[in-house]
Point group: C2
Chain length 520, copies 2
């Protein structure tokens, strides 16, 4: 395994009257022997510290060289070889930043931590923040505030990661940042204005790696900062990380990668080709619509079943805590259960007089709502409910999801049954029951073992970029060979979307394993 | 002629839903077609301005690419092609900064100017400034003050150069800096401490080119700053410029380059090999020792002759102004004249009763002095005199000079007669009469046409570096192939020095064209 950074043992002949080579030139000369004769670059701010450390170490010690894509850079000199050289893998999420400290020498993970994204104060979601970026607060641009805010969060996370290991953040000599396209823009202080406006064009998708000091990051000033490239406004570096982490780009058999949040991003491909698309899935799957919806946090109902005979509800909360709300996977289970128990029909509408719902349906405004957890069991002393509105939102989300999968596979003439594996990224992948998603007609009716949760693949990809030379090469290949399909204007997608707004689907033959409760 | 900077005409397809390439990626893609598929680097601070200018120009216009040694960098984008793109060639002298503005597109010189080096306030000569660099003034290091001071001088010069052309300094997109090794250290804010201490080692001889903003230069933020490499503490980038400007490195026949100031730097070589050395010549040749000595400025006696029969003195001042003092070339003429008129002997000592000196010799303290210009003719109403002490200093300088030339040619087994040409750089080369220097035994007794004045070759070399691609390649070759001989510890030099302390030399056969006045 070759890493981004290498330490080279140096023993140079000390200067003399017969050898007046400059200090830095002397060091570079010895180094170039290790680098196939290539002369490592030394950035202006590193000249003095490196040359001084070299002289003070008696012209011997360890030279730290970072392999930038355009060539090696000599960045530091140590009298003694450091035992570890930390790098930071950062998943730059909209709500949270998750980080891992890895040792660039051994590739080992040293520490993990997470912090909130401080930008939340300026807008809960991406769209609100893009709008905020264009405003002015006093003399500051919203963009500057968003940038400063995420920088502060990153510094907080770096401090948290290093604290336990008795390191300083300035010891961190590399960082790989993986996030959606908008977060990458905020991080790089780039104008996100066009990201959310047709035709949805980023300022840039593939930033060149740069040094920490160029952005004012409080890491080692010469630390290499690698921002995962994106493919478009709605297909960010976090997805490229997912491809790298899943190995989709290396597989002989065709696989699929799904990442679901407010948007659903999907990649299909193998080692020969990759096709990607993204589409709005609606916030239902992030717990963002249901009145009782919540993120996958302690107290969230992540799984539940409804007895098809007597309508009894059994559920499971994250951490086993008293129920506080329902997260995305809980909503999917619940709606699938409501359908199997015939409490809702194929359109997702409540059937008012279904015995299995006895005592649990009540009228809210001019529609119905279902009591999942009665007030006396719930953490906040209020019943946890699912309304018709919530179900309608989920129906749109699941329809969007399935239509996206159909459209993209159809683009390349691959049927669902040809998919060797379907990787499901993130919290959604971790918590979802693929079986219940199949019942809803959200995911294709395939053997359950096809579905493989990936975990935080944005984070995992960033780690690989720091520790695995081949990951960086793969990343470049992925970006150059991936084809992006824009769904916003795709006619086929719109037609398929209509067909998917039933449980499991208007074409029931697509879901042979799901009972058909077609009668009203 | 290929220049450091190129403008490429760009007409990109505007973004659309079917083509979601990021703005900067779109531009880089078109550019890479011009660059043999190579992807130009965009430094972080240039992303936003370049991408914005590209979009605002409707995705067409002119991309500015600077060819850094490690690859092309996309630095700016213009809707209209600029008529000129200025670059600044800077001779960073100890007392003066001379600059030329050149058009990087056509290679033409647009403007020339010069300013004083503001560092003079901290020390008149290099050594004083090196000592000052190590001091503290309040909380600031002397080095910081010296750096700031030279930056201010450069900014002043840049302003002066651009003012006449109605340009801004921020239009300047390249600068080549040519100066001695110490001045290069001050410019780069590097510690000069070891430059003047055995074994005289620079922090670095060959800085990598960098961007103006990295040093806080008030030029175009992405302007490439190219510092001419040095060979050692006493052989600076100004000399490498001299080699480039003279073409020494390209000639089939062996030539010599001499640059004389307080130090004498000498290069001998041809297109196959180069050997260099430097030695202290003493300040006599810079007008720094003689009480009436001065730089080659208006009112300085630059040439004079003494009638060998009647001792009449005729002289010529710079600008024809009333005489104020004597510059280096005037001192050489004068001492040669004193020797030819037998007023001094072969040791350079006054002969008290020589009739040609009648009325011009007077006693000063316990030695004699010669009246060059009587008080009534002189600008300041005081006689301009040359004392025995002044002559003694010149004798040491001329002996050092000749010994350096002998030692270095002997190192490579080349006799003086094999030298096709001897280039004499700087003010010394411009003003000196080689014939009088030969009489003194300072320069070898060769046909006068061998001696070729070079002018400000430090400046000329810097200009070539900006306008001629091959000059940059030659510069790299010169640095890699030049051999530096340290004279400070050279036994041979010391022996030759003793033999050279007579006029013209103890071995008179070396100077057949010079009358021998050997008798006391």
């Amino acid at each position: 395994m070759q890493s981004l950074l290498k330490l080279y043992h140096i023993e140079a002949k000390p200067p003399s009257l017969g050898d007046n080579t400059g200090d830095l030139d002397r060091l570079k000369k010895v180094l170039s022997g290790y680098l196939q004769g290539r002369n490592p670059l030394v950035q202006l701010p590193r000249i003095a510290p490196v040359a001084e450390a070299f002289r003070q170490s008696g012209f011997k010690g360890y030279a730290a060289v970072i392999n930038f894509p355009d060539g090696p850079q000599l960045v530091d000199f140590f009298a003694q070889a450091p035992e570890i050289v930390p790098g930071m893998a950062l998943d730059l999420g909209t709500t949270h930043l998750e980080g891992a400290l890895v040792d660039l020498l051994s590739g080992k993970v040293l520490q993990r931590a997470a912090v909130e994204n401080g930008q939340i104060q300026f807008g809960a979601d991406i769209l609100a923040r893009i709008h905020f970026a264009a405003t002015k607060v006093g003399k500051q641009r919203g963009l500057d505030l968003l940038h400063e805010s995420v920088m502060a969060s990153i510094h907080g996370l770096a401090a948290e990661l290093t604290r336990h290991l008795k390191l300083k953040t300035t010891h961190i000599m590399a960082m790989c940042v993986s996030g959606n396209t908008t977060m990458a823009h905020f991080f790089l202080k780039q104008n996100p204005y066009h990201l959310c406006r047709e035709p949805y064009i980023p300022v840039l998708n593939t930033p060149d790696p740069f040094s920490a000091s160029q952005l004012g990051l409080d890491l080692h000033p010469a630390a290499i900062i690698w921002v995962m490239p994106s493919i478009g406004s709605y297909f960010g570096g976090d997805l490229i990380s997912g491809i790298i982490a899943s190995g989709l780009d290396q597989q002989g058999e065709t696989c699929m990668l799904i990442d679901v949040g407010t948007n659903a991003e999907v990649v299909v491909g193998n080692r020969d080709w990759l096709i990607a698309c993204a589409g709005a899935a609606g916030p239902a799957l992030e717990g963002g619509v249901a009145r009782m919806g919540m993120r996958a946090e302690p107290g969230a109902i992540e799984h539940c079943t409804i007895d098809t005979e007597n309508g009894n509800v059994t559920y499971q909360t994250i951490g086993g805590a008293p129920a506080r709300g329902i997260c995305g996977s809980g909503v999917i289970d619940l709606v699938a259960g409501l359908y199997l128990a015939r409490i809702i029909d194929i359109r997702g509408k409540f059937r008012p007089n279904q015995p299995q719902a006895e005592g649990r349906l009540l009228t809210q405004g001019d529609s119905l709502a279902y009591i999942v957890v009665p007030a006396e069991e719930a953490a906040l002393g209020e019943p946890i409910m699912l309304s018709q509105i919530d179900i309608d939102a989920l129906m749109r989300s699941k329809a969007a999801m399935y239509s996206i999968l159909e459209t993209i596979t159809n683009q390349v003439g691959v049927s669902f049954h040809e998919l060797h594996r379907i990787y499901v990224a993130g919290a959604f992948g971790k918590h979802i029951s693929p079986r219940q998603a199949i019942v809803l007609g959200m995911l294709p009716d395939l053997p359950l073992e096809v579905y493989t949760p990936l975990g935080n693949s944005s984070q995992a990809g960033a780690e690989l970029m720091l520790t695995d030379e081949s990951a960086r090469e793969r990343c470049r290949n992925v970006v150059s060979k991936i084809t992006y399909v824009e769904l916003n204007v795709n006619q086929e997608f719109m037609i398929r979307f209509s067909g998917s707004r039933f449980i499991p689907h208007t074409d029931h033959s697509l879901f042979p394993s799901v009972p058909f409760h077609g009668e009203p």
